[in-house]
Structures are given as C-alpha cells and as structure tokens.
C-alpha cells in the first residue's frame, strides 16, 4: 500500500456544463497528500476551496481528472460505493458543527459507527468516551448538542470525525464560526490529533495565522493551485 492517502490528477469541475450558465470552478488540480500530513488549504472566497473539499470528500463528482483515495480510483464508482467509502475512509468537520440535535453528545460521536453497523458495541462506546476525553468534553457526554457552546460542539464534531479512525480528516472552515481564542484551541486540537492518531488532515481556512501554523499550506486562486509550500518551522 502506498504512503499516499489522497492523490488528485488533473481534477476539474465545471457546473451547469453545456448550458449558458456554465462555470468552471476548478481547473487541472494536481495534489497529493501523504499519510499523517496536516495541510491547510487557503484562498480567497470563490476560489473553489469548498468545491475541492466536496470532491475530495466524495460528496461531488469531478468533471475531469481522477481522484485516488488510498490508491483506489473513485471517479467512476457509484453512489453506494462512495457512500461506503465516506463512512470507512473519511472524517468530516464542518463550519456549522452539524451535530444531530435529536441525539446526545456521546451518540453523536458514535453516529458513524451506528450508521455502519447498528447498535454500538461496548468497545465502541469506550472509544467514543476516550475521544471525548481527548477533546476535553468527557463530562458532557450525555448533554444534548443544544446545551453546549459552539466551541464545544466543534470539538464533539472532531471526536465524531475520528471515531472511525479515518486515514483522512476533512475540515471545512472549522473555526470560521468561533472566536479567535476558541479557534486557536480547536486548531491546536487538530495538531495534537494529527500527531497522536497519525491521520492526514486537510483544513480549509481563510485565517492566515491558523494556516501558518500548519506544516504545509496549499493556496488556491481562481480554481488553480498557485502555491504549495512547507512552512520553515515544520520538519516536513
């Protein structure tokens, strides 16, 4: 098995293809993410960050190019396979937390496992508790998402994304909705998880300071990658 978690080759995305509203959002994207890499994806709004993240997250299909997830081509796979892959190989963290209000914090963390295999095992519940401990929310396990703060909700979302031990964690503006102090602590959490669990993390952010704290920064402008650099502080 290769050391590459993700490989994009000549990815392009055009919306409303063949109509007067046709617009090309991404062109000819080549990108590789290695195992355990923490990468920031930055760019002005409208540069195609979210579209790219949707493609990588298998929520959308590229118009051109091929996307390999753990060495497997995905472009021609059907909805069932993509859904299965999302559950197995990917973790998502979104700007607006997206916890499910009908379930407790602990159940939210367990949700990817519940979707995968029904009633969670005792081991799974233990894992969920330890992840909540990891993000510092062990005491809130039985609360409803509406009863905790935004920063706490985002930590729960991170714990949820990690429960399946995915090789790749995708975060879309995970701190966009938080004050700068909370944002910094959430980002700190990403770094710690990256070291501890060894999963690759791709974070979309428009905050240059947060981006600077990532070892690798990819910049997207007008649907093209304009820079891809390793920060000096990083060991690489």
């Amino acid at each position: 098995m290769s050391d590459e978690v993700l490989c994009l080759q000549g990815i392009g995305k055009t919306f409303n293809q063949g109509t007067p509203l046709e617009s090309t959002v991404l062109r000819d994207i080549d990108l590789r993410l290695g195992r355990g890499e923490l990468t920031a994806l930055i760019g002005p709004s409208g540069s195609g960050k979210s579209t790219l993240l949707n493609l990588i997250g298998l929520l959308d299909v590229p118009s051109a190019g091929e996307l390999y997830l753990q060495g497997r081509p995905t472009r021609d796979s059907d909805d069932t396979t993509r859904t299965h892959l999302r559950n197995q190989a990917l973790g998502f963290v979104f700007q607006f937390h997206h916890l499910i209000s009908a379930f407790s914090v602990l159940e939210n963390v367990l949700m990817p496992l519940i979707i995968r295999s029904g009633r969670p095992s005792a081991d799974a519940v233990e894992l969920a508790r330890s992840l909540l401990r990891e993000v510092g929310l062990e005491d809130l396990a039985d609360k409803k998402p509406t009863e905790i703060s935004g920063g706490q909700q985002q930590r729960v979302a991170i714990a949820r994304a990690l429960i399946t031990r995915p090789p790749l964690l995708l975060a879309d503006e995970p701190t966009g909705n938080l004050d700068s102090k909370t944002a910094a602590s959430v980002f700190e959490l990403f770094r710690r998880i990256n070291e501890q669990f060894g999963c690759s993390i791709l974070v979309v952010t428009h905050d240059p300071r947060l981006a600077a704290s990532c070892p690798r920064t990819v910049q997207l402008v007008d649907g093209r990658i304009v820079s891809d650099e390793l920060s000096k502080s990083s060991s690489g």
Partner: protein, 407 residues
Amino acid sequence: MRPLLASAWTEWLIALRFLLDNRMQTLLILFGITVGSAVIVFITALITGLQENVIERTLGTQAHIRILPLDEFNRLAPLPDDAVSLVLESPRAQRLRSISNWQDVVAVLDQHPRLPAVSPVVSGPALALSGVARASVALIGMDPERYERIIPVSDDLIAGAFRVGAGHAVIGSELAGDLGLDVGDKLRLDGGDGREAVVDIAGIFELGVRELDARYVYLDLKQAQTLLALPGGVTVIDTRVDEIFAADELARRIERLTGLQAESWMQTNGQLLNALTSQSMTTEMIRVFVGISVAFGIASVLAVSVVQRTREIGILRAMGSPRGQILRVFLLQGGLLGLIGSGIGGAVGWGLVQIFNIFGPGLFWVPVEPALVPVAMLIATLAGVLAAAVPARRAARYDPAVAIRYV
C-alpha cells in the same frame, strides 16, 4: 453488504429520535390521527351494528327466500301466420293452490349445500272467531321443527309453548288482545265454504311486527291444509340461506332448478336495502375522506420535518448513510405515526362505542368486531408509510454537498 438487522436498528433509532425531538409537532399530528381513527372506528362500528340490527330484525320474521308456484295466466291459442287478433284479456284471479310435486322440490332443496333450512308451509286467509269478536287472520300450517330453523318463534313467545298439532294453535299477541284470548282458551277458525275447526291456544308470540302479531295463526300442516281446502298441498316453501346477501343470486338459481317462482328477501325489502346501501356509501365516503385528511396531515408534517432536517440529513449522508437508509427513516416515521395514532384512536373509538351502548338511546347494542381495531391500525400504518413516501423520497434525494450547506 451491510447486515440488514443492523441497518434496521439504526433506522428505528433515528426515526424514533426524530419523532421525539420534534415533540410538539409529533403530539399535534398524533392527536389528529387519533381523532381521525377514533371517528372511523366509531362510525364503522355504529353503522355496522345498526345495519346488522336492522337486517336481523327484518329477517327475524321472514324467510330469506320464499318459493311460490308460478302465477296463473290466460293461455291464448297460437295464431296462424299473418293473422291479426284483437284480444280483450282480464288477468286471472290467483286462487290459492299448491306447489305441484312439493315433496320432491323439498327433497332437492334439502340437499342444497347453501340452504341450511327448508320449510314447506301452507298459508291462506281465514276468519278467527271468539264469542262475538271476529278477526281476519292468516293461517300458517307448518312443521314446527323445520319452521323454527327459519323463524325461531319460540324465542319470541310471551306465553305458553310453540306447540301445534292435535288441535293446538299459536297466535300473536295483538290477535290475543283483540279477541280477549289467553293460553288454554279456545278459538274457532273459519276457512270458508263451511270448513271450520276449533283449536286450543297453546302459546302466544310477539314478533314485534304489528301486522304479524295481529294476523298469524300457526297450525299443524295437516289441519291448515284441511281448513284451506288444499289436502296434501303446500303454498310456499320457505328457505334460509348461508349468506344473506347471496339470497338474490340463490333465488335465481332455485328458479332455474325448480321452475317455480323464488322471491328473495332482497326483492321484497328493496327499499330497506336501498336505504342500507346509501347509508353504507355515506359511511364509506366519510371514512375515505377522514382517512385522506389524516394521510395528508402525516405527509405535510413529514415534509416540514424533511426541510427542517436538511442539514442533518446532509451530515448523515456525508457520514456514510446510504440513500435507502434515509428513505426508510422517514417511511418508518410515517408508519409509526399511523400505528401509534390509530392505536390510541382505536381505543378511543372503542370507548366511544361503549359509552354509546351504556348512555346512548339504548335502541340496540352496538358490538365492536374484534378485527375492527387491528384492521384499522394496519390500514393506518400502511397509509402512514404511503403518506411518507413523497417527503421520504425527497429526503433521500438530497445532494449531501448542497444539504450540508443549507441554512
């Protein structure tokens, strides 16, 4: 392949939680379904009970099919070709006459699997005299054992016993009142042309139909035959059928089989039947429309819920929930609403029927068929699932990339 049971567990969990999470919405629609199904159960039990009661009362005093001799008519000699004749014809008077070969007819009908009871009867007019009082009556000569399987007169006796033969007769309460008779008294019967008999009153019945209670005089077959000058004859064969609404069809079959006239209760009670049919149609319409509005209620509540939960559906899809799972989560919610609502509604409807029975006008007892509530629940559950189909399909079709960003 995802194990089916595990997936079902997940769907139940999510469906239940979604319903519990929107508590107010769920309670309101449950209330609606409860009221709807209570109305359906109550009205169904009431109308079914009423109709059964009316039919039972009607058929309690008459045979399901009466077999009569063909009417007499004038026979005209056939004309030679291209001849024209002018005929002044007056219809023949229908004299009392026997069914020819009635023993054979009865023997054939006795073998018929769909006629559980057959009773040959001779009946005709007579005068009843007691002292200076006289009344016109209908003599009914029959074999009590056979006759009672068609009209259980014994059940309606108010005095004495249903015993005929050896000069005994059983008369109605109105007639007994008119003539001032009691059990043990004597009654003179005059069949005309000097045919007379004196009988002892063995019993008095009250069928609840004034006309019958004032006119029927039950006699032994032989004695009635003598009084009516029809020795060895019967004028009618009364029968009972296994399924009362098949009476018409069976009557036609009996006509073809015997060449006689067969009159079903459905022909003789055309108006009643018409009224019952109209009533059933009205009930059916009420049930269908109540059912439709309940189903639309479920559909609209779930449609709102699907929109409210757009983002949550998006995140479930992103976390790897297949389209089918989302579809089933919402179908289950529809089914659960239907099941629970109709369960409560069925109990309420059942309770209403009991209240009606205890505190209502008390004209008749309304039974609740044991199958009514379970069937209503089954239909409501299926209707709930069907009503959920449109919103559930919509939820399952959400593009997760779009749904997640829905605000």
